[in-house]
């Protein structure tokens, strides 16, 4: 696919380099090249996106109408649990790491990542982690079915799959932390002369902050799941009231990780959007510095809002008030970002190629997810919203037309740079419109379902929820099918097509556009000059 193609073009453009990529499988197994590793991350993420998507199809098919038609409730719970774990840790996070691998060295004028061998490791851990996670589905007792939040005591009823789940999470954690360390070191030490911190592209900034978040919270999750493991097998009682433990403590530990985790998924998306909108508005990004500060404040606030996920556990009222107010505060820096994007468009000269379309949809639909997030912050109202489809609608709005759309926008934006070929603009637009229409048909009715009283994580529902569930399922199938078109467009582009110019777009800003399309296998062996 793309990599083979990249390779041949690389030889073409870069023949003065004596060591190009190795041949065959070895190239991919032992590569320390940031572009190869970035490509592998992106392909892996796409495979996981389709795997998790297939599980979503099972879920939506069962929920198509009331009554149980296809799967047992136990298997349904395995599907919701695995769908979440795979989409979060297998699809969205590796995709943003893949984009970081490809783009950060190029954007800051570095020849490669700072720690290339570790880079190889952090990728190759992932296939093993996910093979282990997926293999739990065929174990006796099935895969984990206690939700991706893994709340005890329920998760301790998992059976033989539990240690595999926990080790898989440890491995994903190790992989993300190594990736994050690599990104921090690269950004801090490898910038070309003149590339000061406040000259870095916003994508690099958001990833720098994301990487620090990863280093700070992935180990906490690792600690939490380790305690689950010792509770189960080594007689500790961290979360067991019988021995003086408390199941609610796990929720605190989990969400101390879990809330920053949602920003780990969305901050790089903010970065991508901040690259694309200026290019297609033909105008510099509005409020660059305030974007950086807003990102940093979101990251800071993400550490002090975690308990808004657990307003119903019986916290003291002072605690609830604190978490309610701190959560509402997040709306301020997030609002600044949205206003800046709109100001960037204002009085620009916009064109609407596929990356721009996805970015515009991102701004609209992510903002809708932000609004429902603000509603969820209001603690007394959250008692009604909590654990209903309203929450499902909220986080899918910020993650699918949010994070996933931004990733797709980024892929369309940089694909010509990576492959040297233009993607099929018509098909790209068809993919965009299908995705955007179906994603709303899929998730918008879920707001109504939640408000009307449908709890989340149920395989069957009362008959008054039937019609909206059917609509939602139709949207789901449509959205799933649309993504097959995405794969086709990407493969087609990788195989050939109209040759892309070095700049690809009209006057885009950034060092990546000073390189050839595709860029040489080793870019910036001589550091570029930054004005």
């Amino acid at each position: 696919m793309s990599q083979v193609d990249t390779h041949s073009h690389t030889d073409h453009h870069d023949d003065h380099h004596d060591h190009g990529p190795a041949k065959g499988l070895k190239r991919w197994l032992f590569t320390t090249n940031h572009k190869d590793i970035g490509t592998m991350y992106l392909i892996f993420s796409l495979v996981m996106f389709m795997t998790g998507g297939a599980m979503a199809m099972v879920i939506r098919a069962e929920l198509f109408q009331p009554g149980l038609q296809l799967v047992e409730p136990g298997f349904f719970n395995q599907m919701t649990t695995m769908h979440a774990l795979i989409m979060v840790f297998g699809a969205v996070m590796p995709a943003t790491v893949g984009l970081a691998n490809w783009m950060i060295p190029i954007m800051i004028g570095a020849p490669d990542m700072a720690l290339p061998r570790m880079n190889n490791w952090s990728f190759w851990i992932l296939p093993f982690a996910f093979t282990m996670l997926l293999s739990t589905l065929i174990m006796p007792g099935g895969g984990p079915a206690g939700g991706w939040t893994m709340y005890p005591p329920l998760i301790q009823q998992t059976g033989v799959a539990l240690p595999f789940l926990i080790f898989a999470i440890h491995m994903m954690g190790v992989s993300s932390i190594m990736g994050a360390i690599n990104i921090v070191v690269t950004i801090m030490n490898m910038r070309a002369p003149g590339m000061t911190l406040l000259k870095m592209p916003l994508f690099v900034w958001t990833w720098l902050i994301t990487a620090y978040l990863l280093v700070a919270v992935m180990p906490v999750l690792a600690g939490g799941v380790t305690m689950l493991l010792t509770d189960q097998y080594f007689g500790t009682t961290f979360f067991n009231a019988a021995g003086g433990g408390d199941p609610v403590m796990f929720q605190h530990i989990f969400w101390f990780f879990g809330h920053p985790e949602v920003y780990i998924m969305i901050l790089p998306a903010f970065g991508i959007i901040s690259e694309i909108i200026p290019t297609f508005s033909r105008k510099p990004l509005f409020g660059y510095e305030s974007m950086v500060y807003a990102t940093a404040s979101i990251a800071f606030l993400s550490f002090i809002v975690w308990a808004h996920h657990m307003f119903t556990v019986g916290m003291p009222i002072a605690g609830q008030l604190f978490f309610m107010f701190s959560t509402m505060m997040i709306a301020v820096p997030t609002g600044v970002k949205v206003f800046n994007w709109i100001s960037t468009m204002w009085r620009g000269a916009m064109t609407f190629e596929t990356p721009m379309l996805f970015s515009l949809a991102f701004v609209f639909l992510f903002t809708i997810g932000g609004f429902s997030g603000l509603m969820l912050a209001i603690a007394p109202a959250d008692f009604q919203y909590h654990d209903t489809y309203f929450v499902v609608a909220h986080f899918h709005y910020v993650l699918v037309p949010g994070a996933v759309f931004a990733i797709m926008a980024g892929v369309y934006y940089w694909l010509p740079k990576w492959t040297g070929n233009m993607y099929d603009e018509t098909l790209g637009k068809v993919h965009f419109w299908m995705s955007t229409i179906f994603v709303n048909v899929l998730f918008f009715p879920q707001h109504f379902l939640g408000l009307a009283g449908m709890p989340r994580r149920i395989p069957d529902y009362a008959t008054q929820f039937a019609d909206f569930n059917m609509i939602s399922s139709i949207g789901g199938f449509g959205f799933g099918l649309s993504q097959l078109l995405f794969i086709y467009v990407v493969i087609k582009c990788a195989k050939g097509g109209v040759k892309a110019t070095d700049k690809v777009w009209d006057e885009p800003r950034g060092l990546e556009w000073t390189l050839s399309s595709p860029p040489p296998y080793h870019s910036f062996s001589v550091a570029p000059e930054i004005k």
């Binding site: 301790q156 009823q157 002369p193 000061t196 408390d246 605190h252 002072a318």
Partner: protein, 182 residues
Amino acid sequence: MTQNTPQDNKALTLKLVVMTLAMFGFGFALVPLYSVFCEITGIRSAIVETDASQVIETPDIDREVTIEFVANRIAGAAWEFEPSVTKMKVHPGKLYSTTFFARNLLDRPITGLATPDIKPAAANKYFQKTECFCFTEQKFGASESRDMPVRFIIDPELPEHVDTVTLSYTFYSQTELASAAR
């Protein structure tokens, strides 16, 4: 800004690794931190014995507080477990006694342990137990039953807005302790 040297990379990598390990430790440090936090706010009651000889009774006969007693068992527990009285009107500053009744439904000896909880959280600090079956493990012979005592005093400092205090026990047997929720 400057092109990196391997030393720079190593130093920064090391710092980040240390940060990772520190955060892993922090995950575990949350356990004691959570206990301290819970004790301060009263959301979870610590099993603290108040020394009976230190208690000076200063009854506040103008104030009456309702105490509710609640007994819980986990699903499938081979116990009978219930409070002998479900409600008591008490004056703060006065010592009271009550009992909880438990019967072993098995024909072999078992050992049990009770975990207490008090609601509302604001009352936790003011509910002092001088004697409680929750302080120690309770051994029961085959089919044995007995009344287990609790002696308590409500601190007169109990916030004005509290009119009812619920004392709840969940009684676990040792087998459940070893493999709870398995």
